[in-house]
Every structure is written in structure tokens, then in C-alpha cells.
């Protein structure tokens, strides 16, 4: 299989990271696509939870918002938003939180709040939503984001949700018991934290991507694991499932 875009590659690799017995708190956008591709291929029993309160949802088309009716209609049950955040997220029931973001640093801290000074912003972004508490209350965090110099920064202007902390040490020092970001899946490669420094380090490179390209699209000098490998290319089935759900989604939202 050779004909695929880097975005498709990213979504499929993100989908592969999920397991059948995961209880996954799903962010909107790329995470939502990945989670549903996983459900439709290798993880049919996965529990997908959206912060609007839908538990065990099985949407036929990807939702535009985290609260589309499709999510509620296909869910096992729907709870109120306070219950969602208190019992299910804070209660420690979620195995994986799946986040996207606008900007990220090498310790997987995320900014979705503001570019520039908070009180005089250059660009005002949407804000944290559920992410600040998802980041610490889920057992582990997967992040999926396309690479770019404006997105992958040495230092963030604002920390909306904590990865491993500004120097990689803070999360542990604060005694946060959950693992935090264990995978950062991009359109070019997959990062995992170095077990000692917690710096996000490249575990595998997607087919057709060079180290030079990665360096050009990363705001810090990326490190590689010694046994860094090539990410297996998407299979025909993976591509078909992803393209099908995206086509259904496009048709549904244009109607």
C-alpha cells in the first residue's frame, strides 16, 4: 500500500495505539477519527467516552462537535456533565485520554489557550475545555498533532494542560500518579517519553519521511531512541475504514 496522505498515516497510527479493553476519553478532531477507526478495526469492544456525557458511544459518522446527537443515540448511556467530570474522569475510570492541541513542547505540555501575552493576546485560542483535568486524571495520555515550527515549540507561551511539566520533572515532583503523555503521534513520526528525562523522543519514523524533514518541522532539536524504526505503513483495510468514515461524515455534515 503506497498511496496515503500523512494525515491518514497519523490517524491510523493513533488508532493502532488503542486496545480493545480501553476506556477512552475522546477529544474532538483527529483523536475522534482515530478512536473510531480503532473501534471499527481491531478494538470493537473499546469504550469511547465524550465529555458531553456519552458513555460507550458508537457513532456511524464522526461528530462535528463533542455533543452531536449521533453520540447520544448510539451510546450505552448518557450522564450529566458534572457527573462525567466527577465520577468518571476524576473517579479514575478512564484508561486513556486522547488529546489534540495547538502547540506542544518537548515534554508534551500543551497550549490551546493563547499566543502572546494572556491579557493582550496576539491570537486568542479556544481554551482548555476538558483538557486540564483529562491530562492528570486519565491513567495515560495519547496526543495526536501534525508537526510544524509554529506548533512544536521549545517553550510554550502558556501551559493549558500539563504533560511532564516545563522541565520534564514537575509532574513526578507534584506526585501526580497517572503516567501523563506516553505517546505523541504526529504526521511524520511517533514520540515516546525518554524514561529518565521524560523528553518526548522519536520511537518510529513514518515511511517516506526523513530526519531532515522532521528537524525542519520541530522547534527543538529532536532526539531519537537508539532502536528507532520505521512505522509500518497503513494496510488496505485501515485506509478503507478511515476513508469510509470520513466520506460518511462529510456527506452527513454538508446535508
Amino acid at each position: 500500500m503506497s498511496d496515503f496522505t500523512r494525515n491518514e498515516m497519523m490517524t491510523i497510527v493513533a488508532a493502532r495505539a488503542l486496545k480493545n479493553d480501553d476506556v477512552c476519553f475522546v477529544g474532538i478532531g483527529a483523536p475522534s477519527a482515530a478512536c473510531n477507526v480503532a473501534r471499527l478495526i481491531h478494538a470493537p469492544q473499546i469504550t469511547l467516552i465524550y465529555e458531553s456525557g456519552t458513555i460507550g458511544t458508537r457513532p456511524n459518522v464522526l461528530p462535528l462537535s463533542i455533543g452531536d446527537g449521533e453520540l447520544c443515540e448510539t451510546a450505552l448511556c448518557t450522564v450529566s456533565v458534572p457527573e462525567m467530570f466527577r465520577y468518571w474522569l476524576q473517579g479514575g475510570r478512564i484508561t486513556v485520554g486522547f488529546l489534540g492541541g495547538a502547540q506542544i513542547d518537548k515534554f508534551a505540555n500543551i497550549n490551546t489557550t493563547v499566543v502572546g501575552d494572556y491579557n493582550k493576546p496576539k491570537v486568542r485560542l479556544p481554551g482548555g475545555g476538558g483538557a486540564p483535568e483529562i491530562a492528570t486524571n486519565c491513567q495515560e495520555i495519547f496526543i495526536t498533532m501534525a508537526m510544524g515550527k509554529r506548533a512544536f515549540l521549545e517553550k510554550l507561551p502558556f501551559i493549558t494542560s500539563m504533560g511532564h511539566g516545563p522541565t520534564g520533572a514537575e509532574r513526578r515532583a507534584m506526585g501526580v500518579k497517572s503516567k501523563g503523555p506516553t505517546r505523541l503521534i504526529t504526521d511524520m513520526c511517533v514520540f515516546e517519553p525518554d524514561p529518565v528525562t521524560m523528553e518526548m523522543t522519536i520511537r518510529s519514523i513514518h515511511p517516506g519521511v526523513t530526519r531532515e524533514e522532521i528537524a525542519e518541522n520541530c522547534g527543538w532539536t529532536p532526539r531519537y531512541f537508539d532502536d528507532c524504526s520505521e512505522t509500518p505503513a497503513p494496510t488496505a483495510q485501515e485506509l478503507e475504514v478511515l476513508r469510509d468514515i470520513q466520506a460518511r461524515t462529510k456527506a452527513a455534515h454538508a446535508a
Binding site: 446527537g69 443515540e73 476538558g130 511539566g165
Partner: protein
């Protein structure tokens, strides 16, 4: 005590200049008709509370109704920016907007604390993040039993809580189905309330023993506004108008285009205009209604 009245009267009686107002509905059941009525009546200096300001507060803020926004995620869901809110925050247009920013968990907890008649909410949140540095209302408390330091936020106690729901019976008992968000909490936390509903029915016909119902004695004004949540949706009645949310990006980007749209579709209209949106989506909702009815039947039988 629930009192049926026109939406214009409900807003005139309950929403005053300078009020703290919460219009809730988490993506679902957003009270757009009520928001438009507040704009038409020219309310000013409001403090607007909502987890996701969505297009409803983009419109209120763009029309200059608010001095302050309390929120936790301010985008156009799945589409991009809420441009009027950005213009207010970045360029003070049409005037300066103060913001008080939280996380979803904190906002949900703050509503629950308000409904529970508590002064503040406590949560395991805001760990290792920058929001507490820019929002002085985020504080902490040490657990007297374990010593754990936990985040606190003040309870939400709005002057007016406004929601949209599926239906009310003649006594004014209100049924909410589907994604219920914080709607029950916001009504119980607020001093005065306005509830718009899709329809008034003789019998509420609750689908399960555990349905989300607001008893009539917890509700203030009730107005029947068919389609009143458009372009948001009402589960079992009509679906979310996702194409409207996508189109709003273009409408709201430019100040003049926005103002022209608001004149044609809000200032020059009445709440009755919303019924057309409900009708337009009827076909799309037919499927949803069928599966709702099936689900309700199964639950009753169980």
C-alpha cells in the same frame, strides 16, 4: 412557580441590565431563541456564564450585550474560532470584554455547588497548568482528612438561568432528554429562570423512572418556542444544523457581515421565526425520533 408567558415577556421580566446570566446546554438544547430575545431587548453590561460560549455568546458579545464572559472553551465546535469573541478579546470590539476562564471540570463543579447551595466547589484539578496564574478566583483548600491540596472555585449563582428543553406539561413540569449538560444544575443554582420548550403537552410522559425532570416549583418563566434551540438541536425533535455552524465561520469573520446578518435574522425577527428551523430538520430527525421511541419503549418494558 412555573408561569407560562411569551418569550418577550419572560425576558423583559427576568433579565435586567448588569445581571449575571447563564444560558446553558452542552452543544445540545442551547437556548438560541432566548439569546436572540435578550439581544432584541437591548440588554447591556451582562456577565455571561457558559461552559462553551458557542455561537449564542458570539452573537450576544458581538452585539455588545456583555461586559464579562465566564467560560471554559470558546470555539466554534469542530469548525474553528468564535470570531466575535476573539475580536472582543483581541481588539476590544465592540467594547472591552473582561474574561474569567476556567476548565470544563471546574465550571461543571461550580454549577453543581450552586445547585447544592454551597459557597464553592472542590476538585482535583488545575494541576501544573497556567490558568490559576491568570484567574485569581481559582484557589485551593487542604483536605482536613488526608492533607491533599485540592483546587477550589466559587459556586455559580447566576441572577438568571436560561435553558431550552423538550417539553413541559400544563403545570410547568419540564422534561430534558439526551445530553443534559449542566441544565438541571443551572436552573437549581439561579435566582430566576427562563425555560423555553419545544412544546406544551397534557401529560409529560416521562420515558423512564429516572428521567431528568425539573418540577414546576423549581422553574420560573416557561415559553413555548418551537425550534428554539436552532442551530443547536433538540433530541427527538430536530438534529444539530452542522452546516449552519460551518457557515457561521464566514458570517462572523467580518464585522459588517455579522451586523447585517444579526439585523436580518435577529433584530427584524420574532421568536416565531425559529419554528421554520424545526420544520426544516423534521425529515432528518425522523430517524432519530424512531430510535428514541424504540429506546423509550425498551426502557419502560424493562
Amino acid at each position: 412557580m412555573a408561569k407560562f408567558m411569551s418569550l418577550a415577556d419572560a425576558v423583559a421580566e427576568n433579565v435586567r441590565d448588569g445581571d449575571v446570566v447563564a444560558m446553558e446546554g452542552f452543544t445540545h438544547l442551547i437556548p438560541f431563541a432566548a439569546g436572540h430575545e435578550v439581544i432584541r431587548q437591548g440588554r447591556k453590561h451582562l456577565t455571561l456564564i457558559r461552559m462553551t460560549p458557542d455561537l449564542i455568546y458570539d452573537q450576544l458579545i458581538g452585539m455588545g450585550c456583555a461586559d464579562k464572559l465566564v467560560f471554559s472553551w470558546g470555539g466554534n465546535p469542530g469548525v474553528g474560532s468564535t470570531h466575535r469573541i476573539r475580536d472582543a478579546v483581541e481588539n476590544a470590539w465592540p467594547h472591552q470584554l473582561e474574561i474569567e476562564e476556567h476548565s470544563h471540570a471546574a465550571m461543571a463543579n461550580a454549577y453543581e455547588a450552586g445547585a447544592s447551595n454551597l459557597p464553592f466547589a472542590v476538585l482535583r484539578g488545575y494541576i501544573g497548568v497556567d490558568l490559576p496564574k491568570v484567574n485569581p478566583k481559582i484557589k485551593s483548600v487542604t483536605c482536613p482528612y488526608t492533607g491533599e491540596v485540592l483546587a477550589t472555585v466559587p459556586a455559580h449563582r447566576p441572577d438568571v438561568g436560561i435553558i431550552h428543553a423538550q417539553r413541559a406539561d400544563r403545570e410547568g413540569n419540564v422534561l430534558i432528554e439526551g445530553i443534559t449538560g449542566c441544565q438541571k444544575e443551572v436552573v437549581l443554582a439561579s435566582k430566576r429562570t427562563i425555560v423555553t420548550v419545544e412544546e406544551m403537552v397534557d401529560k409529560l410522559d416521562t420515558p423512564s423512572f429516572n428521567s431528568t425532570v425539573l418540577p414546576h416549583w423549581t422553574v420560573g418563566a416557561i415559553s413555548v418556542v418551537r425550534g428554539g434551540a436552532h442551530p443547536s438541536y433538540a433530541q427527538g425533535y430536530y438534529t444539530r444544523d452542522n452546516s449552519f455552524y460551518i457557515a457561521w465561520d464566514k458570517v462572523s469573520r467580518d464585522r459588517d457581515t455579522f451586523l447585517a446578518w444579526m439585523k436580518d435574522n435577529v433584530l427584524d425577527k420574532t421568536p416565531d421565526a425559529f419554528a421554520a428551523h424545526a420544520k426544516k430538520s423534521d425529515a432528518k430527525a425522523a430517524h432519530a425520533e424512531k430510535s428514541d421511541a424504540k429506546a423509550a419503549h425498551a426502557k419502560k418494558g424493562a
